[in-house]
């Protein structure tokens, strides 16, 4: 057996000697240890900062040390969302705003948080920023049904149908064939109908007959038929829908209005009865029944008894008088509107709205000069009225002036209305459309500060 041969150590390829190599290794080891210590110190400082300065109790040291910064931000955002809700409930809007803003920016994928932030912004009166928040969310989670519903509902109910159609046009084909397809198509139909483009809405419905079978689309489809002057079809469709006792009073209200205008008093009372069964504690449902009953009974004793019952149940609520006065105004019941104004004068501080209701009743009765006088008296006492109030006032002034054939007054009032609505382009556009629909062309012309954009095309094959 051969003894292992002892070979001399091979020379270092770069010519270092053993002792030199050891020294360099030690130095590097010290540096590494130092850096590791620094890393630990940095991570600890970061953790302490987040945990105790930012008071985030959900953060662990490991999250910071292992660079799970996304989780860190999410944790902080969740805490800010919770804080924002608390502050909102306590009416600390400034802090709530900051917290929601922080939360949304740090965790943009937190959909419940984003929805809550949008709700807060809407409550604070900023529909436009709420919309920005929702649309940004939709860009990140295009298939989230909650975001879709909130975004398009907000767009279609605040006069932003054009924008809704633009957003819909940008959606990929897969979105239309997926589970959200029917909802998207419903919003498209709704926006198109709201814009008054009945032909396009009809075409859309013809291309997508499945909407006829979709319960959530039924009220929109019925409204399209109504606008297309197929009134009986609209009433029948909505009657069938209301028969399923849907949630939401709007469908019942719409049907009662249509039935009353088609002189179907008994059916209207029956529909209002269904609404009352579904929403027994809702003042609006009771007023709806009073409306149907009042028209059918021509304000007879049965109706008076119903008013008595209404006051018994809802008279303690501050809005009871105003709701009934609004009905009297809508229906042209002048004496009732006047009596409610007298009653309101003893219970309410601001009587302008009751005055408007009285003016509306006069308008319905064709007493246009009196309407103008009422509006002038209210205007003289509202030098610095809020924009919504002034918009209501000017709107009525335009209508009264138009009814009297006073073209100069129509233009003047419309110009003043445009000035009130200057900061609300969507409101301006909605009012312009209303005027256009009512044949008030001169008034509509004064409101064309921003020409309506062409309707974006949503390809049918999507």
């Amino acid at each position: 057996m051969n003894a292992p041969s002892r070979r001399p150590p091979a020379p270092h390829p770069r010519g270092f000697r053993r002792s030199e190599r050891g020294a360099v290794g030690r130095i590097l080891l010290f540096v590494a240890a130092g850096l590791f210590a620094l890393y630990l110190a940095g991570a600890t400082a970061g953790y302490l900062f987040v945990r105790y300065v930012r008071k985030n109790e959900n953060i662990g040291f490991v999250d910071v040390a292992l660079l799970r910064w996304r989780e860190v931000r999410r944790g902080m955002a969740a805490q800010q969302f919770a804080k924002a809700k608390v502050e909102w409930d306590a009416a600390n809007y400034q802090i709530a705003f900051l917290s929601y803003n922080f939360g949304v920016n740090n965790d943009p994928d937190n959909i419940p948080g984003r929805l809550m932030a949008a709700q807060f912004l809407q409550a604070a009166g900023s529909n436009s920023m709420a919309l920005t928040t929702l649309v940004d969310g939709l860009a990140r989670a295009p298939d989230d049904p909650r975001l879709i519903e909130r975004t398009f509902t907000l767009l279609n109910t605040t006069g932003r149908e054009q924008r809704a159609l633009e957003l819909l046009a940008r959606r990929p084909a897969s979105a239309w064939s997926g589970p959200n397809g029917p909802a998207l198509r419903t919003y498209e139909l709704e926006a198109t109908t709201n814009l008054g483009d009945v032909a396009a809405a009809r075409k859309l419905l013809d291309q997508h007959p499945e909407l006829l079978k979709l319960p959530r689309a039924t009220p929109t489809v019925a409204r399209m038929y109504w606008e297309a002057k197929e009134r009986l079809r609209a009433i029948n469709l909505l009657t069938a829908y209301v028969g399923t006792r849907p949630e939401g009073l709007e469908a019942y209200t719409q049907l009662v209005q249509w039935q009353l205008s088609a002189e179907m008093g008994d059916e209207a009372v029956a529909t209002a009865g269904l609404a009352l069964e579904k929403f027994p504690g809702e003042i609006a449902a009771r007023v709806l029944r009073l409306e149907a009953l009042g028209v059918r009974e021509n304000l007879g004793p049965a109706w008076v008894a119903a008013v008595g019952a209404y006051f018994k149940d809802f008279g303690a609520r501050p809005e009871a008088i105003t709701q009934l006065a609004a009905l009297a105004g809508r229906r042209g019941w002048v004496d009732l509107a006047r009596a409610l104004y007298e009653l309101g004068a003893l219970h309410q501080q601001n009587l302008s709205i009751l005055g408007f209701c009285y003016g509306d009743a006069l308008l319905r009765q064709g007493r246009f000069r009196e309407v103008q006088a009422v509006l002038t008296q209210i205007e003289s006492q509202a030098v610095e009225g809020s924009a919504p109030f002034l918009a209501q006032l000017r709107n009525r002034q335009v209508i009264a002036a138009a009814a009297l054939g006073d073209a100069a007054a129509v233009r003047d009032s419309a110009r003043r209305l445009a000035s009130v609505l200057r900061s609300d382009p969507e409101g301006m556009e909605a009012t312009r459309r209303n005027f256009q629909r009512s044949g008030l062309v001169a008034a509509a012309a004064e409101l064309t500060g921003r020409p309506p954009a062409a309707r974006p095309a949503v390809p049918a094959n999507k």
């Binding site: 290794g25 850096l35 660079l67 900051l98 803003n101 943009p108 920005t132 006492q381």
Partner: protein
């Protein structure tokens, strides 16, 4: 065994450390990124929607009744001013450590400048009080300054020359001016007694009365006034009185006893009429209306533009208060004697032709005018009645129809009132 050294591991640790430092610094230094995906620049504004909404949320928190459309203008001005004065701090606007309290006074000043109408007097005063609170806070660092201090300061400023409170509430007074006023007030104790005032004529007193009992030309601007009060009659009966008045001379007085209207008396500009439950409205001759006809005087004769004559009578005293006594002669020839407090120039009493003495107290500003919230009248036989105002509302939106007799439609006002009286109370939460 000696630990093995890996250069790559070392590099990895080094990078990780650098990354931690970067992430921690960048993520947490600024609480709210200025321009995130959710923030869109406003089309008509130089500022982002987030910046504007942030300031608006602060306004909403402090003044929930401040109209949003007015707030839009205020916010824009505030941000412009902030950017101009301190761009550095403006950049930190959306961070939680932004010292918004430091700029509260400026914000309230700009808000006050936006509130111009007579119906916004209360809100304007509230804004001025909050502004004073902010200024006092900045003066007394470390001390708690409550709303009471600010209210006291506001009351003191209001007692100065009328131009000061007016400029303060209208947001036309800068902080240094306010501070100067507050300093003057503190030094006032050491100031020498004012010179003896000159002897005032009836016209001087009336002019001073007009100046002291309204803000600017508030009486002139006021179109309508509604007053809800409680009356304790000389016979000890408790009644509610609702008085609605509209320019130039309309009035409607509703007397309510135990929740039900006893009668309504009104003037529609041509005739007086009265209505009671179960009876149609009846016209009543002017001569039988009595002293109620003076309810059609929308403006107090002491601030009326014309048609009223004044004569100074020997001064009097009512309790501790020294009074000027003025004989006031209306256009119809009737007269009364007004007692004007020599210190405050409030009308603290009246002697009527039928020997009735009315004493006014508890003055409060409503719609820019001074109203007595308590009236105590003593008739010639010594019977006393007390009227206490519950609420007074300027320019509530009254219309002419209210002052005219109602039609015969059912249900009428009285029927509706009966129905409303049977309302089931809202259950307590």
């Amino acid at each position: 065994m000696r630990p093995r050294f890996s250069f790559f591991r070392f590099l990895a640790h080094l990078s990780a450390f650098a990354l931690v430092l970067t992430v921690v610094t960048r993520s947490f230094a600024a609480d709210a990124p200025e321009a995130g995906a959710a923030v869109a620049a406003g089309e008509a504004s130089r500022f982002t929607e987030t910046q504007r909404e942030y300031i608006h949320s602060y306004i909403l928190q402090n003044l929930p009744d401040f109209p949003r459309e007015v707030a839009v203008v205020t916010v824009e001005r505030f941000l412009s001013e902030l950017q101009r004065r301190s761009p550095g701090e403006f950049d930190r606007l959306l961070s939680p450590d932004f010292p918004l309290r430091k700029y509260r006074s400026l914000l309230f000043q700009l808000i006050g400048a936006q509130l111009t109408g007579p119906a916004q007097v209360a809100l304007r005063e509230e804004v001025a009080r909050k502004r004073l609170e902010a200024i006092l806070e900045s003066q007394a660092v470390g001390k708690v300054v409550g709303a009471l201090d600010a209210a006291t300061a506001l009351a003191k400023i209001k007692a100065m020359a009328p131009v000061h409170p007016r400029r303060l509430v209208e947001g036309r007074m800068d902080d240094d001016e306010v501070e100067l006023l507050l300093r003057k007030d503190r030094e006032a104790g050491a100031a020498p007694a004012p010179a003896k005032p000159k002897v005032l004529t009836a016209a001087d007193i009336v002019a001073e009365f007009g100046r002291r009992n309204q803000e600017g030309a508030a009486w002139q601007k006021l179109r309508a006034l509604t007053i809800h009060s409680r009356l304790q009659t000389a016979a000890g009966e408790e009644l509610e009185v609702f008085l609605l008045r509209m320019r130039p001379d309309r009035f409607r007085m509703t007397i309510v006893a135990a929740g039900a209207t006893r009668f309504v008396i009104s003037y529609d500009g041509a005739k007086y009429w009265q209505q009671a439950p179960g009876r149609p409205a009846q016209e009543i001759p002017a001569k039988t209306v009595g002293a109620s006809r003076y309810l059609s005087e929308f403006v107090d004769p002491l601030v009326a533009d014309s048609g009223v004559g004044f004569e100074r009578l020997p001064d009097g005293a009512d309790g501790a208060a020294k009074t000027y006594r003025l004989s006031v002669r209306r256009a119809d020839g009737s007269t009364y004697v007004a007692w004007i407090d020599q210190e405050t120039f409030r009308q603290i009493g009246r002697e009527t032709e039928d020997k009735q003495i009315i004493r006014y107290s508890d003055f409060r500003m409503v719609g820019g005018i001074a109203l007595a919230f308590r009236e105590e009248s003593t008739d010639a036989k010594g019977g006393k009645a007390v009227l206490t105002l519950v609420r007074a509302t300027p320019d509530a939106g009254l219309i002419q129809a209210l002052f005219e007799p109602a039609g015969a439609g059912a249900p009428d006002y009285f029927a509706l009132e009966r129905m409303l009286a049977g309302a089931t109370p809202i259950p307590a939460k």
